[in-house]
């Protein structure tokens, strides 16, 4: 194989001959590049003696053509095999020039401004979604909402008894861990009996609701985002819109109501299972008799703590359902978007639950609960 060339009167004459398979002669390539940097008006490439070739030759010729194109140098090809010429033409065909404006680096201030506008728009969209959901609830109360009972019942089934096994397991384990960690410290003072009080207060006041919130955000919130997001991908949401059916009535309302209604009950169940977990450690490891554990638990149980926990559950239900449905409805139109929507739904639900916990705790401090 050889790549020979000479320059006469602003014309570069290049001859390719022999076999060009796995051609990778850097020295010849750079010499050719150097030749191309001369002031040229015409390039002729002759391939009469060319035998076998592969992409390593095509790439050299493609680079020459690109340079010629850029410098407006005329190129003449002679005795080229049909396939090679066609391949080069195909590579040189420009279907549509990319929109350069999309790649222009914007100044920092402009990007900051766009970020601000993005946050403002997203906040508006989120608030509008919350408003639409509560308007749908209003329409439901007036008997005007287009919600299928069967969708509500399915959603209710999904976040009630179907969630019980995982809720029971996690809450039991949390109660168990709380009791175990507490017992290690309380034993030092011979006060291990107060494990019952510790578990009861912690579970009923906040831990039960928080654990249920995290479980339901990962389980149900993600499922809401994925289901509605897939409907968006499959154009089902478009079909609803063009039929004039409000998506909040049809898709959000049954899911929102189901979760908001079940969360307080799931919280109560989690409180109970946590106390059972704490009791298991107390009875098996701390030699506390069951009657004593129950007596201390009942004494520690405060209605205010219990109601604060239930209220947390109710608020978390709203947060999880709204986040799941919001990201589902605003999902993009490809499979990747469904994954992104699901992740965002779970993460934002957890973040907002923490924010709401802070606000509720602050409010409880102010009103002295």
């Amino acid at each position: 194989m050889s790549l020979s060339y000479h320059i006469t009167d602003k014309t570069l004459s290049l001859t390719v001959s022999g076999d060009y398979i796995d051609y990778d002669n850097e020295a010849e390539k750079s010499a050719l590049n150097e030749a191309l940097s001369h002031k040229l008006s015409h390039i002729t490439i002759d391939a009469q003696a060319l035998k076998k070739w592969d992409s390593t030759l095509v790439v050299i010729l493609f680079n020459i053509m690109q340079v010629a194109n850029r410098k407006k140098i005329k190129v003449s090809l002679s005795h080229f095999p049909k396939g090679l010429e066609r391949l080069l033409n195909l590579a040189m065909t420009v279907d549509r020039k990319p929109d350069k404006s999309a790649f222009i680096q914007q100044p920092v201030l402009e990007r900051l401004g766009q970020w601000g506008i993005g946050v403002y728009t997203a906040t508006g969209k989120g608030l509008s979604f919350i408003g639409q959901t509560f308007r749908s609830i209003g329409r439901l109360i007036m008997g005007k909402a287009i919600m299928r009972k069967v969708d509500f019942l399915f959603a209710l089934q999904d976040c009630s008894w179907k969630a019980i096994p995982i809720v029971s397991l996690i809450s039991f384990m949390v109660g168990l861990i709380l009791a175990f960690v507490g017992a290690v410290q309380l034993k030092l003072f011979g006060a291990q009996i107060y494990v019952a009080s510790l578990v009861t207060i912690a579970m009923t006041r906040i831990m039960g609701a928080i654990m249920i919130g995290i479980i339901m955000a990962g389980r149900t919130g993600a499922s809401y985002a994925a289901t509605i997001g897939t409907m968006q991908v499959n154009e089902e949401v478009d079909a609803l819109k063009t039929m004039g059916i409000p998506t909040t009535d049809f898709l959000v309302l049954p899911r929102f109501l189901a979760l908001v209604l079940t969360m307080p009950f799931l919280t109560m169940w989690a409180d109970f299972m946590g106390m059972i977990g704490g009791g298991t450690v107390s009875i098996l490891m701390l030699d506390i008799v069951p009657q004593e554990y129950i007596r201390y638990s009942v004494n520690a149980f405060g209605l205010d703590n219990f109601l604060v926990g239930i209220f947390h559950g109710l608020v978390f239900g709203c947060v999880i359902a709204l986040c799941g449905c919001y990201y589902g409805v605003n999902c993009g139109r490809n499979a990747d978007s469904v994954g992104v929507a699901t992740t965002k739904a779970v993460v934002s639900a957890i973040v907002w639950m923490i924010v709401m916990t802070g606000l509720i705790t602050l409010a409880c401090e102010v009103i002295g609960v």
């Binding site: 549509r96 929109d99 404006s101 287009i146 969708d151 399915f154 409907m231 499959n234 154009e235 089902e236 478009d238 079909a239 819109k241 063009t242 039929m243 004039g244 059916i245």
Partner: protein, 251 residues
């Protein structure tokens, strides 16, 4: 016989954010036409359809349906106008959690006060019209792609619309199913007088059923040709149109 326009687009611009797909295009669709919106991939056909059905706001200009300004209408006014329109989406867009009967019954329950029995009978009729008699209790996952499109068409026809929009009806169908769907569209057009608007780049369908069309030219962001597709094939107004209508074989 003079034809009456049922849809009119005036100086319509279509796009997303800062990206414009079509600029200031105007066209008319006559009552009873099978109107084809054709063009290469990515030229903005489906986006134009979304603007015409109110799913995406127009970047400029107006769409009039039966003389009423659709682009400037409020959501409730648009819903009122859309009662006269049915849409068949590319994937059929059937609600996967509902049976075919429930899918078709949904717009009837939403917009009519028919009894449950009448709705059941209407659903059976619509399914029979598209050749799916007896499939009432099937779920979308239990039927083939072609059947899903037919069921989607039955739902689009539920309210006896005056206009039916189709987004790439042949996409994903084998040639036989595609031909059957074309025949069905022709039957509906001829028997019910329904105006059909089809977004497609399927040449066999374009020539088989289209009697009026526009060709969207993505490069110039404008209408590259308009008229009966068969006439356009005989006398293409430009090389781009010729290439498109001959699958690039005249090159």
């Amino acid at each position: 016989m003079t034809k009456t326009p049922i849809i009119t687009a005036k100086n319509l611009s279509v796009g997303y954010d800062d990206f414009l797909l079509m600029k200031n295009i105007s066209f008319e669709i006559n009552k009873g036409d099978i109107f084809i919106i054709m063009g290469g991939s990515g030229c903005g056909k489906s986006s134009l359809l979304k603007v015409m059905t109110g799913l995406v706001p127009a970047k400029g200009g107006h769409v009039y349906i039966e003389g009423k300004n659709f682009t400037n209408a409020t959501v409730s006014e648009q819903n009122e106008i859309m009662k006269k329109c049915g849409i068949l989406y590319q994937s059929g867009a059937l609600f996967s959690s509902m049976t075919l009967a429930e899918n078709i019954a949904l717009p009837l329950q939403q917009y009519t006060h028919y009894s449950a029995q009448t709705i059941r009978e209407l659903v059976s009729l619509k399914l029979a019209l598209v050749g799916l008699k007896g499939f009432e209790d099937f779920y979308p996952a239990e039927i083939s792609g072609g059947m899903k499109k037919r069921a989607g068409l039955a739902r689009a026809l539920a309210l006896d619309p005056e206009i039916v929009y189709f987004d790439e009806p042949s996409a994903g169908l084998d040639p036989v199913s595609s031909k059957l769907l074309d025949d069905l569209i022709l039957d509906i057009n001829q028997s019910l007088g329904t105006t059909i608007v089809i977004v497609t780049h399927e040449l066999s369908s374009i020539f088989a059923i289209g009697n009026n069309s526009i060709f969207l030219d993505g490069a110039t962001k404008s209408i590259g040709a308009r008229g009966n597709p068969k006439d356009l094939l005989k006398n293409p107004p430009s090389e781009v149109v010729k290439q498109f209508l001959t699958r690039g074989e005249s090159k």
